[in-house]
Symmetry: C2
Subunit: 223 residues, 2 copies
């Protein structure tokens, strides 16, 4: 019985690997499948190591949730271009890979179902949610301002809620039943819906790689 070989990793590496392993476990087998032993196996270490990096299993789950939220929102930050282009990219980014896929939904839903149970997760959730919606609210205000519209704060807030709702709902549909939709059907629907909501057409963004993909998408369905 010889002891198994092991590699000493840096703290950053190890924590990253362990959190990735946690997310893999959750997406493959649900929260119930994310046991310390499963996580350790997936990360190629032994179970005890998890508690060397995380004070408890709850803590690693909290850290994992932060990563999930970051992945769902980071692509929609730091967009550039005109307000209209940024809105356009925002829509596209939120409804295509890697934000919209079934793994994202599995992870998101697993944590959401515990948000109302676990106060620590609730805090993490609320911060992420508010920051996302405020970002969208600012973006919409910029778009309307660029159109020369004076925007009443209450109307802008309602608009943000509506647009957020459309994006959330379409994201949900895409994740849940992606195979029922053609590639970019949802993006196309989102564009027409949001154009209807804000009362203005939305121009295509500047021609980056991403946006070329996006325009291809539109060409197919948006006619």
């Amino acid at each position: 019985m010889s002891r198994r070989d092991f590699h000493r990793a840096t703290e950053a590496e190890r924590r990253h690997d362990l959190i990735e392993a946690t997310l893999d476990c959750i997406s493959e087998a649900g929260l119930q499948g994310a046991t310390v032993r499963q996580i350790a196996t997936k990360a190629g270490v032994t179970a005890g190591l998890i508690r060397h990096y995380f004070a408890s299993k709850d803590v690693i789950l909290q850290e994992a949730y932060k990563v999930v939220i970051a992945r769902l929102t980071e692509k929609a930050k730091n967009l550039d271009g005109t307000p209209e282009e940024r809105l356009s990219s925002f829509i596209f980014v939120n409804l295509t890979e890697p934000v919209a896929n079934s793994r994202s939904l599995s992870l998101w839903a697993a944590f959401i179902s515990r948000v109302s149970v676990d106060p620590a997760l609730a805090t993490i959730h609320r911060e992420g949610y508010l920051s996302f919606r405020q970002e969208l609210e600012q973006l919409l205000a910029d778009v309307l301002a660029a159109k020369g519209e004076s925007v009443h704060p209450a109307r802008n807030r309602a608009l943000a809620i509506a647009v957020n709702g459309v994006l959330d709902g379409l994201w949900l549909e895409g994740c849940l039943a992606g195979e029922l939709f053609e590639e970019s059907e949802l993006v196309s629907i989102a564009f027409s819906s949001i154009e209807a909501l804000i009362g203005h057409p939305i121009k295509a963004p500047a021609p980056t790689d991403m946006d070329r993909e996006y325009r291809d998408a539109l060409r197919i369905h948006h006619r």
Copy 2:
């Protein structure tokens, strides 16, 4: 040590009580909190009885999921009135109690997070989802037909996806952060959004109790 008293219930009663207890456990403590012992305690029986009515824990969870889906969709069925009134009620019903509250979301999310893991749940989910969207698709077709519009099937399908997305997304926001919204803000937003999507105003439904409540809602926010 005397044996505890017990009451012999009919099969229907017992199954109903056990499923309700299961839902209570899930909404209060997540899927992880729904152990056979917790469910039994909540239902006022002992753990062994669960396996007398359900072949395994998985089976009671599947039955519970069916109930959750039914609760989320049943209120939106068998609406009456003109197509426009039915659409109006449909929107209202889906964004107010008892469909939209944090308990509904807890239950929904808990099961959704297992849909991609458990094939039995996936089947139950898919059936519920398709039936809901087909209902909405028919409803929208009726509304547009009543407006004298000839409806291309593809356009109607896209419209149904969009409206479904708006409703899902707003439902989600209302459940997640209900306290951030005033009573009927979401209903009001849904009306303007969906009016924009279908290109027609939506009349208020016939004056039932429900609809009076609904109009009060609109009066506050929609003007």
